[in-house]
Amino acid sequence: MKPVEERGYIIPAFNVGSVDYVDCARHLAKTLLMHHPDARICLLTNQADAVDHNLFAYTHVVEDIDKTNPWANDWLVFHHTPFRQTIKLEADMMVASKIDHWWPMFEHRDVVISQGCRTFYDTPAVSRKYRKLFDVNGLPDVYNAVTYWRLSKTAQEFFKLVREIFSNWQCYKTLLKFPEEVPSTDVVYAMAAQIMGPDTVTLPKHTGPQIVHMKSGINPFSSAKWTDELVWEYNPMRIQTVAQWGLVHLNVKDWHHE
């Protein structure tokens, strides 16, 4: 669609399984507005009753989506953003601090996909437990959880590639060693980044944003559900007494209900 505003955030939330991503998106929007009350947020969903004018300036409902793999609808964000410059945020995260310093960092580029992630101690994640496919195939260590683009040929080409890879996964997966049967957005973004040239769509690692990833293979906790083991506080957000900043990928989808 033709952009109607300069800058804003888009949160894709397609409900096709047991996880209520719209609910996650509402929570993410709340935490974003807590730090940036003037933030403009667009919800992209397949759920017609998801409209909430207190949280979302725009709600774009697309009912005709790929329900076999909800991630395969990711490319729609490019076509449905009402903003000239957009930051896409994955729904199952929360904002733990101000993030508007990202805009001046990003605005010199057409596309920026975040690279790497952090532990809740704010140290770079060193575990490669969930990134073996990336390593063995020499793919860039991108996380689609935070992705910026401005309306541009580069962004258009990138999301065209993302759509093509998702749509033709049976062909594209032959390019990879040990490919996933159902492609994840991170792998598809990494392949698209590799095809376009990683430098075209990323900032140097550790200069751009990195999410805190609350997976057990990355952080030192033994429970599959970290909320059962660690002490956590909501506002300001602390995990096991450690103050969080930036974006925190919760991994436990119903965290905010506990």
Partner: protein
Amino acid sequence: MTTGALIFAFNNEKTDYVQMAAWSAERIRRYLNIPVAVVTDATDAGLHQQFEKVIFAGAETGGSRYFEDYADTVSWHNAGRTNAYRLSPFDQTLVLDSDYVVCSDQLKAVLNAPQDFLAHRTAFNVAWPADPFLDTFGRNQFPMWWATVMMFRKSATAQYIFDAMTMIKSHWQHYRTLYGITEKNYRNDYALSIALGIVSGHTLKVDSIPWPICSVMPDTELSLMSADPELWQFKYAGTDGKPKSVGIAGQDFHAMGKKHLEAVIEAC
């Protein structure tokens, strides 16, 4: 501004920490050229000849602890360290464990640093320097700072840190549970780490001494090979069980086993 070192020395049934502190004091003067105060409950007449300042305080026990080199459990009167801020007679203080062996002037860099508080964030085992070594504690691997060497200036920041350590010590069972600490004994390193977390606004962004402590474990035998020039030797068993040794000179170290260090002191 006055600058000096502060050593806590409370003897137990096995170790003469006062004698160890006196031996350390001589080295501190030699290498760092600063006066040394001791905090102790000992009343030996000779203390005032060995230390520039003697501060009498009661022993605060942190419990008992098994020491591998003694093959015995001994009382551990180490819990009074949190009083360092209140007890220190200096404007700038270098708190040192009595088993921290000063062999160089490297701590002058710490004394010249602009920070109001500094401690070590990392350490290494002299026998296995490339291996991970006690960098974290507790169930969830909270980052650990070492209370072995602490430099502080009389300042709000330093006072907050020691006040926080005192609070943590007073509510040790609560903090043990919170951080998943299995050891029952109070430990200064853990209290310091938790306190630094609190005082940093829970960010863990803390300026630290920018090199690791060289640590000599209790199962490593240490000896002074030559006094002039000073050369220390550390003997340990390799992974294949065969004896190995490493020698160092001009490098401070933390003698975590007291028995071997006591033997060296006795021989001096």
